[in-house]
């Protein structure tokens, strides 16, 4: 069997029936073999789009996403997505073609050292240098992508290995060892919880990735612990719970940040205390002891020393955590704070400028319970996180760690491929949308019913907000008022669209968009003066957030 066929046979054995990619010189033998394979390939219009689609596929299913590109520019175009998957711990296998072995190292046409380029931005990477190594490398890639803390793995394959014969190889066995907490640490954690007066659960993306949502919700039900979420943790806790406080951090909700600043015990679950969450680190949760639960030993004590750490599978640990219900006076303080700081949602049909938070809340109320929302990066991303509700973490796809503009549309495409019967909405900023706008071609090609909502303030909104607040209103290169006419752009791809600019149009426009059977673009024109509130200024403690000016 030829190398290219062996790859596809291996993917089929792994249960991979859908992959994303873009063909080119060195990877052509694999694309030739695809014609005779049951593996379905989705052609995106840029390798970065293909890789983000694979990320959307992986994040919405917790399965490995696979993308394929050629050598040289194909491979370099994947790198941003590779880094995105690394920082957000997404299980991904990227297959890149490489020039044939005899040409390697000669600066051949479309040759780059992708192995060297990949080193710092993936969980692991390999270059297949013998035919015997091809299938074992792929087996290893799939193991590594999924085991422990998930992440992306790149496999670089020279063209002559794709065209040459490869031997049948035995199944490799993973030698991964799950890190293990001790019973002593578990007891110490439960003692800390029992003796604390003001505990808070700080929920990260690890919960969803460990398939431990049910176990987390059970813990909350047993203990009534107040909860805050990171961007990636959204959807893990039930948003209707009276002690669910929403997202914390730089654009966290006031009740979430203030509760964490007041707590005497912080229980971090699959979260990494990153700088966007903690604000000024030495003033973060200043009265709190820390219990840190994670699968990755490198996260423990990395940003803050944990009083107790529990390493291992959250699905196994969470049922053993927590004893009594929480101190009633703390519960009351937290729920009162939640009510007093609640955002005043109201459907307002009066004429006037559209308010993005209100629109997104309305969209959240109108969309299906299991709808998947993918977004880009910037102001709209924070509004989505603050004002939309998600039934599962896999329903919210957002580029958290890397903060990659252009993520939203291709990730939505990948999510729709994986979940063909689910409502998928890409909420995009006007700046971000233009970064992978070519993927409208993918939507057209496969007629996927992805809904695109562009929140257009004709600005690079978040940068503009920082220029306004922290750079003395010196607006440098953030005016995008020469954006294209998005409806005409959609029409060029045979995509239905609508444009709205006043509040009274919102309800009907959202209804029309969600009911439309095919792909649809809703262009929402916003006032560029709107900002995201609250905001914790850089190098400031989270309780010193600035709230919306009256």
């Amino acid at each position: 069997m030829k190398g290219a066929q062996a790859i596809l046979e291996f993917l089929t054995e792994q249960g991979v029936d859908k992959v994303f990619g873009y063909p080119g010189g060195a990877i052509m033998p694999l694309y030739d073999a695809l014609l005779d394979s049951p593996v379905q390939h989705y052609l995106c219009r840029h390798e970065q789009g293909a890789a983000f689609a694979a990320i959307g596929y992986a994040r919405s299913t917790n399965r490995v996403g696979v993308c394929i590109a050629t050598s040289g520019p194909g491979a370099t175009n994947l790198l941003t997505s590779l880094a995105d998957a690394k920082l957000d711990s997404v299980p991904l296998v990227m297959i890149t073609g490489q020039v044939a072995r005899p040409a390697m190292g000669s600066d051949a046409f479309q040759e780059v050292d992708v192995l060297g380029l990949s080193l710092s931005i993936c969980k692991h990477s390999m270059q297949v240098m013998t035919a015997e190594d091809l299938v074992p490398c792929l087996q290893k890639a799939f193991h590594i992508a999924q085991e422990g803390r998930p992440g992306p793995v790149l496999v670089d394959i020279p063209k002559d290995i794709l065209t040459g014969l490869v031997p049948a190889t035995p199944q490799a066995v993973s030698d991964y060892q799950m890190p293990e907490y001790s019973m002593q640490d578990l007891q110490a954690a439960n003692q800390l919880i029992a003796s604390s007066e003001r505990p808070v659960l700080y929920i990260g993306g690890g919960v969803g990735m460990a398939n431990a949502v049910d176990e987390l919700r059970d813990l909350i039900q047993r203990t009534d612990l107040p909860q805050v979420c990171t961007l990636k943790g959204l959807g893990s806790a039930e948003s209707e719970h009276p002690l669910y406080l929403g997202m914390l951090g730089m654009h966290g909700l006031a009740a979430a940040n203030l509760s964490v600043q007041q707590c005497d015990l912080l229980i971090a679950i699959g979260a990494r205390l990153d700088d966007r969450v903690t604000g000024k680190l030495d003033e973060f949760a200043p009265h709190a002891k820390l219990i840190h639960l994670d699968i990755d030993p490198a996260e423990i004590h990395k940003r803050r020393r944990a009083d107790v750490s529990l390493l291992g599978d959250l699905k196994t640990i969470l049922p053993l955590l927590g004893t009594d219900t929480v101190n009633p006076s703390w519960r009351e303080w937290v729920s009162d704070l939640k009510v007093s700081k609640a955002f005043p949602y109201a459907v307002d049909n009066s004429p006037g400028q559209i308010d993005a938070p209100q629109l997104l809340r309305q969209l959240s109320d109108m969309s299906a319970n299991d709808a998947i929302v993918s977004c880009d990066v910037g102001q709209h991303q924070m509004w989505v996180a603050q004002h939309m509700r998600f039934s599962q973490p896999s329903c919210h796809l957002s580029s958290g760690g890397l903060g990659t503009m252009g993520f939203g549309l291709p990730a939505a495409i990948g999510a729709q491929v994986a979940n063909p019967d689910t409502q998928v909405v890409a909420v995009c900023g006007d700046g971000s949308f233009m970064m992978n706008v070519q993927e409208l071609g993918t939507l057209r090609r496969y007629q996927m019913p992805v809904k695109i909502l562009i929140l257009d303030n004709q600005r690079l909104g978040m940068v503009k907000q920082w220029q306004e607040l922290f750079h003395e209103e010196r607006y440098s290169e953030t005016d995008l008022s020469d954006n294209p006419e998005f409806s005409r752009l959609a029409a060029a791809f045979d995509i239905q669209s609508d444009v709205i600019q006043c509040r009274s149009q919102v309800g009907e426009a959202l209804r029309k968009m969600l009911a439309y059977p095919g792909p649809y673009l809703l262009h929402v024109q916003l006032d560029h003066k709107d900002n995201v509130w609250p905001i914790v200024p850089p190098n400031t403690a989270n309780h010193q957030m600035w709230e919306q000016p009256k």
Binding site: L119, S120, M126, M129, A298, I300, K302
Partner: protein, 94 residues
């Protein structure tokens, strides 16, 4: 602080680059390095210095798939002292 790292690495392409890249990125400087092949593995001894706790580096090195074992020992010489020695002006020649 200075630390002596003793590593056993699988002899795979880019394994040395991975170790060096991780060391640099996590805030440490390689002061000396020696390697020696050992069957399908290689032994690497490295003296590193840096201001962060060494666990910042060792916990990340431990995640490398081509690292079979890692031992780390703190050295007595302070990097600050070394730097101050190096910073002394060179003696003038006649």
């Amino acid at each position: 602080m200075n630390y002596q790292l003793e590593m056993l690495l699988t002899d795979q392409p880019a394994v040395l680059e991975r170790v060096l890249q991780t060391t640099r990125y996590r805030g440490f400087r390689v002061d000396s390095m020696q390697m020696q092949p050992a069957s399908k593995q290689m032994k690497v001894s490295m003296l590193v210095s840096g201001k962060h706790p060494i666990s910042m580096l060792t916990s990340q090195l431990n995640k490398l798939y081509d690292l079979a074992s890692l031992e780390c020992q703190a050295q007595l010489v302070q990097s600050g002292e070394q730097q101050s020695t190096q910073a002394q002006p060179l003696p003038k020649t006649a």
